[in-house]
Subunit: 212 residues, 2 copies
């Protein structure tokens, strides 16, 4: 089993309860996310951010970034920490606190980064988690998903055009459907504990979500 | 001047105060958004939705959709109402209540619809508005933007690869930059009341946003 590395970015109300359900190898607080983790009693391996709106909390190691920079604090933290690891040793990159909050441009930015060549090599390892929302990314292939019983809905989001998308054992099945444009197929559901999907070309984001 | 048509979808806390700042020709409430508008004293031209979680409010005209359908309530409402208009008569399609709330798959769906061929013909007319966030879409060309003084940040989000993106009179200018992948360039700022941007290929989303 490889390393599970957890980042907590600065969006309000990250799902810290999730941390109690898993074991992980590194915990990185990013800007306001660092303070939220420390306030909740966690010990940080790294605190990284510009800390312009919150004080930098205690951590084993830290980096204070300039306020004006090309990358977001989260992008910098991902590159800095992941680049020090052997890619084969990384099993999962869990990102909390990246998708909720007030600024929708920030949310989009925290989703779009997977397109960047420098981040894309870890594409299948990202696991973005907010309350009621989990998100993973897939390259062409065939996959079996397990139902997170706390979330009713299963959504398939084409980040690009898609070729031959099949959904098996889902409430709304598909058989080798092609989409010439990025498509958002939401509110599907598992029929049983697991379902299978496959596609031949494109980049896919899969979410399990719950109504509030 | 063409028609301004306003849709209010079902995401929580739509920015109804915005309606007091503009004049518009039609007001359409979509599912929970219909009830929110009527509760706030507005008279609806249309109420459209499956109304599975809220009661259908009074309106001049209404459509009750089945709960299980391929389109979201908002997509159905857009197609139904806009298809009855002459495209040249439509000046602006204002959409409130489509981007906030708990389910991120719904948010992405309410952004992704612009990619669909049937919706893309109105691409430059959509104006998505939430508290602290406004979003418009652009085809290749040159544009001048005016600063909404209530919002500090200006973000350029490539929905596709982009060719020759220039940002003039912005805090972080660009000169004919090319991006091979969808890129999210956020937290730029106006230097004065207006700025100019241009690009030669791709599809662009521009947001003006404010911190909460």
């Amino acid at each position: 089993m490889g390393k599970k590395i957890v980042f907590c970015a600065g969006a309000p109300d990250p799902d810290l309860a999730y941390l109690k359900t898993i074991s992980y190898d590194m915990l990185i607080g990013v800007d306001a996310g660092a303070k939220r983790l420390v306030d909740a009693g966690y010990v940080l391996d790294w605190a990284i951010g510009d800390f312009d709106s919150v004080e930098k909390p205690d951590s084993k190691e830290s980096i204070v970034l300039p306020c004006e920079k090309d990358d977001t604090d989260l992008q910098y933290a991902l590159m800095h920490v992941l680049s020090q690891e052997n890619d084969d040793d990384i099993e999962e990159i869990i990102i909390l606190g990246s998708l909720s909050g007030g600024r929708i441009d920030h949310l989009i930015c925290n989703l779009w980064f997977v397109y960047q060549p420098r981040f894309q090599k870890w594409l299948t390892k990202y696991h973005l988690i907010e309350k009621g929302n989990t998100m993973r990314f897939y390259e062409p292939g065939e996959y079996t998903l397990t139902h997170d019983k706390t979330k009713k809905y299963l959504s398939f989001i084409g980040m690009t055009p898609l070729k031959a998308l099949s959904l098996i054992n889902a409430k709304y099945p598909l058989n080798k459907a092609n989409y010439e444009y990025p498509v958002s197929l939401i509110s599907n559901e598992f029929l049983t504990d697991t379902m299978t999907f496959s596609f031949e070309e494109g980049l896919m984001c899969v979410m399990q979500t719950a109504d509030k």
